[in-house]
């Protein structure tokens, strides 16, 4: 269930992305389009795309196992390329059948690589020819005018499937244009003199026949171009499919060791998840996430205890001295802090504390100084006696402001909750008993009341942690920290579908794991709670 939970939420967004116009189709780079087509099948319904994505990220794989290159890169079996569907006019291109024996000696890997390159090149040029064919379709539509322009020029774009319809309309338009031309010619030769005489600027009538002729020529040209494009598309598809089959045969011969671990041979295997490649950064998504996730976790895991350590004691003191100036002050202060959006705090912090125009106390961006690689880990003095802050302090100095911006927001919730549950417990009977027994006041507060007030604080975790993770997006953007938030914002601005999906998935995983931890802690802290 947890897996479905994780997978479903970003999957919903994947669906919405598709609905919003598709990422790959408009971006235009043929390779990326081929990649997305292989990975998702862009013309499939959303639910199939979603299932494909799910199966690629799931550790259980079906069908042919991937191969693994020595560098750890994954090679999948080349997927068959769906043939372009051009009904009626062209006979469907024959599926090329390749008989090919791959080499098995030491040149095997080099041969496979060459075949792969060929297949990719042919694939790219096929995708490019599909685009050209679409352009030709759109040209026809523009030449014909209504009603084709409205249908083909819109957001949906021209699709090869429209070919048959377009042809019918084109035929009709050509016939009509030819008719108009002949009529015009006859009109200008027959009844024209009277009209020209009645019109002040006679050019118009004289121009009309040539416009009609132009239209006929335009239509004919568009038709020729369309057929050329269709033919070249078919040819390129045949080539792409042929090279693809060669590459597949070579793949089956197994130039590299197989990846993963078989459960049922050739059917089900166990493998690491495949998150795909982030084309905007030209790197596997997984590598990017492995780099970014620790940064986000670092900031959050530092900010989190700090907020508890500050808010809980103040809450305890406020409850013990209820109604005092301390109580009122912290109440007002924390509510005000709670009302400062993280963006605002970030902008103010970077503007007034970090910017050189004002105080300039902290670094403006990044996680480390540019010279951090050469630093010693701990603060030290070099031989000349100059003091260096060292790697650790440098890091602390850099993340001080981001952490500060994440911390303050949860003070109000935590301390108010602490105060409320402490007050509840302070008026309980067992406290009166303890006081009556003569237990020291501090012991009553710390041992009896505080211990029993802990539970709601653990529950608060559920509300605070997701908010903090969300807040870290903003903080990372403001302070240019290379974490998950910066990653997802970059991915969104580049429409990098795989990166967005994987990023959301990982954040959800972290979040759910944290919530699970809170549940376990809850059971540990309160023996009465059981999940039986």
């Amino acid at each position: 269930m947890v897996f479905m939970l994780l997978a479903l939420a970003p999957g919903g967004i994947g669906a919405s992305m598709q609905a919003a116009g598709g990422q790959g189709n408009t971006t235009g780079i043929a390779q990326q389009q081929a990649y997305l087509e292989d990975r998702y099948g862009l013309s499939d319904p959303v639910i199939v795309q979603y299932a494909k994505w799910l199966s690629s990220i799931s550790p259980i794989k079906f069908g042919t196992r991937d191969l693994r290159m020595p560098g750890g890169e994954r090679v999948s079996v080349p997927r068959p390329i769906p043939a372009p569907s051009l009904p009626q006019v062209f006979p469907p291109p024959a599926m090329p059948s390749v008989v090919f024996t791959p080499s098995t000696d030491e040149s095997q890997i080099a041969d496979f690589k060459a075949l792969q390159r060929d297949a990719e090149g042919a694939r790219r040029s096929y995708v490019g020819s599909v685009r050209l064919f679409r352009d030709a379709l759109a040209d026809v539509a523009r030449a014909v005018g209504e009603p084709l322009v409205g249908r083909l020029d819109g957001k949906g774009g021209a699709k090869p499937n429209d070919f048959a319809d377009v042809l019918i309309v084109l035929d009709a338009a050509q016939a009509a244009a030819a008719k108009a031309q002949s009529e015009n010619i006859s009109a200008s030769s027959g009844a024209a003199p009277a009209k020209v005489a009645s019109n002040k600027n006679g050019e118009k009538n004289l121009v009309a026949p040539s416009v009609a002729a132009q239209h006929v020529a335009q239509l004919a040209l568009a038709r020729v171009k369309l057929f050329d494009a269709a033919q070249s598309m078919d040819a390129k598809w045949a080539l792409a499919e042929e090279t693809r089959q060669r590459a597949t045969i070579a793949f089956m011969a197994g130039p590299y060791p197989k990846s993963g671990f078989p459960i049922i041979p050739n059917l089900v295997s166990l493998d690491t998840s495949d998150f795909g490649v982030a084309f905007s950064k030209n790197r596997p998504v997984w590598d990017l996430i492995i780099e970014a996730l620790p940064v986000t976790l670092l900031i959050n895991l530092i900010a989190f205890p700090i907020s508890y350590f500050i808010a809980v004691p103040t809450g305890v003191i406020a409850s013990v001295r209820r109604g005092s100036w301390f109580d009122t002050l912290t109440g007002v202060l924390y509510l005000s802090l709670y009302s400062i959006p993280t963006v605002l705090a970030g902008v103010f912090a970077i503007g007034f504390l970090a910017n050189n125009q004002y105080l300039g106390l902290f670094p403006v961006s990044g996680l480390h100084d540019t010279t951090a690689d050469t630093m010693a880990f701990l603060p030290s003095t070099n031989l000349a006696g100059a003091w260096h802050c060292g790697w650790l302090l440098d890091l602390v100095w850099h993340i001080a402001l981001p952490v500060l911006c994440l911390t303050y927001g949860s003070f109000a919730i935590l301390s108010k909750q602490t105060r409320a549950s402490m007050l509840d417990n302070l008026s309980a009977d067992y406290v009166r008993t303890a006081k009556a027994k003569g237990v020291a006041r501090n012991d009553v507060v710390v041992r009896h009341v505080f211990r029993n007030s802990l539970l709601p604080l653990i529950t608060m975790f559920v509300g605070i942690f997701p908010a903090m993770l969300g807040g870290s997006v903003v903080v990372e953007r403001i302070f240019s920290v290379p974490g998950m938030g910066s990653l997802i914002l970059d991915a969104i601005s580049n429409n990098d579908r795989d990166l967005i999906l994987a990023d959301t998935l990982m954040i959800a995983a972290v979040n759910v794991f944290a919530l699970l931890l809170a549940d376990i802690l809850y059971a540990v802290a309160d023996p009465r709670v059981s999940y039986e």
Partner: protein
Amino acid sequence: MISGIDAMRGVGQTRAKGFWADAWGRVLKRNGARFGLFWISLIAFFAIFAPLIANSHPWMIEQIGAGGEVTSRSWPLLANLTATDWLLLLGVFVGAPWILIGPRSLTRSQRTGMFVVAAIQAGVIVVLAPMLIEWASESLRAPWLKEIARGNNGGWPIAAVISLGAACVAAWIPSVDSLWKRVASALAVAAISGTISVTAGGATLINYERYMDNEASGKIRCVWAPIPWSPLYTRSDMVAAPPGAMVEELPNLESWKGTPFGKRFFIMGTDALGGDVLAQMLWACRLSISIGLVSTGLSVLIGVTIGAIMGYFGGWIDLLLFRIVEIFMAVPVLFLLIVAAGVLPRNTYMMMAIIGMFSWTGAARFTRAEFMKLRKQEFVQAAQAVGLPLRAILFRHMLPNGVTPVLVDASFSIAAAISIEATLSYLGLGPDGQASWGKLLSSATASTGTFVWWLAVFPGLAIFLSVLSYNMLGEALRDAIDPKLRKAAH
């Protein structure tokens, strides 16, 4: 001196306040809540009157003839008000007074109901008109539809459709009973929404400099709005000017010398494009108010419905729906919102919808918990035994008894929605072509690396105070409603 008998007769007694009146009285006793109300009404005031206060169109133009005499007058500011502006102004000057002091026979709850219905209807029309026009003018539509939407008088047929729909809805206002009243209100609503839809057509490109040039050459005399800047009007010669910067428009004309005319101030400075900050701040009030109310309304609507179904039925329905709630909770809301805002079209309505759609889990959980408590109680069983429809049991009988935690939560959600809007706008994912506090804030730390303090402080303060106001109202409401907390607080 009141004797016991007098007391028994009820002398000196006041009628017990209702639950909500009592709670409201308690809320008003708190200084924080009073300040919150004051600030929110200030924002609401500017939300309504911003187009009249800050506008680059002059209030009035007097055409001056050859001999210096006034030949004609025109009111370009009024002529350029949009549907939303008209609707808000009409609502304030006609609608609200009529509902408040109108027909004597109406009870207070009926008036409140009408007010709510009118507000919702107005909002729906304002949202609907541009959306319908945009939808119809898309290239995929049938040619005749496009013809209508793109044509010069495109507003009229669409206005007719909208006003017909609005009239149908108006005919079913629950608190209006007699037939002629229904017909009258339907006609009134149709007329108003029709006029508004007509003016909702696309904005034309406006050349504000024309006014100044003509004024400088002595052809016209203008009466300017108090802040003579529109939020979208930018002066490329005044980029990032500090507060109090001034431009002088009429250097050549002798008759203007020595008068304050022609001098215009940027009271809060200008942004990175040269737009006036104060004008943008005022115009953004509308976005701030509406985004908080609408998105929270949406999330409460979704959350209460789902929560009510979960809590009332329990069993496998509860199990199933709660999994959906969990799915939404698994990803931090801000991440969901960022992704959604990134891939969906960027306009105000979409923004409201997104925030509403992704933040309903709180309301759903509160409602579920309340309904689980309520469903075994006698009055619910009685309602079931009488055979009331499910709708009536859920929303007539159970909801009023279990809505308080949701209402308190809603107040905090409005605050959250405002800060989310600021966040998204800051990240560049906010609505396009609209002034927003978050957008101003984002230009404070421009790519040049300089920090422009007036772009951070003024919008920042506005965001902070708005969020704080709603939070304080929420606190006060919670303390006033929750008897347990009330006891603990005193």
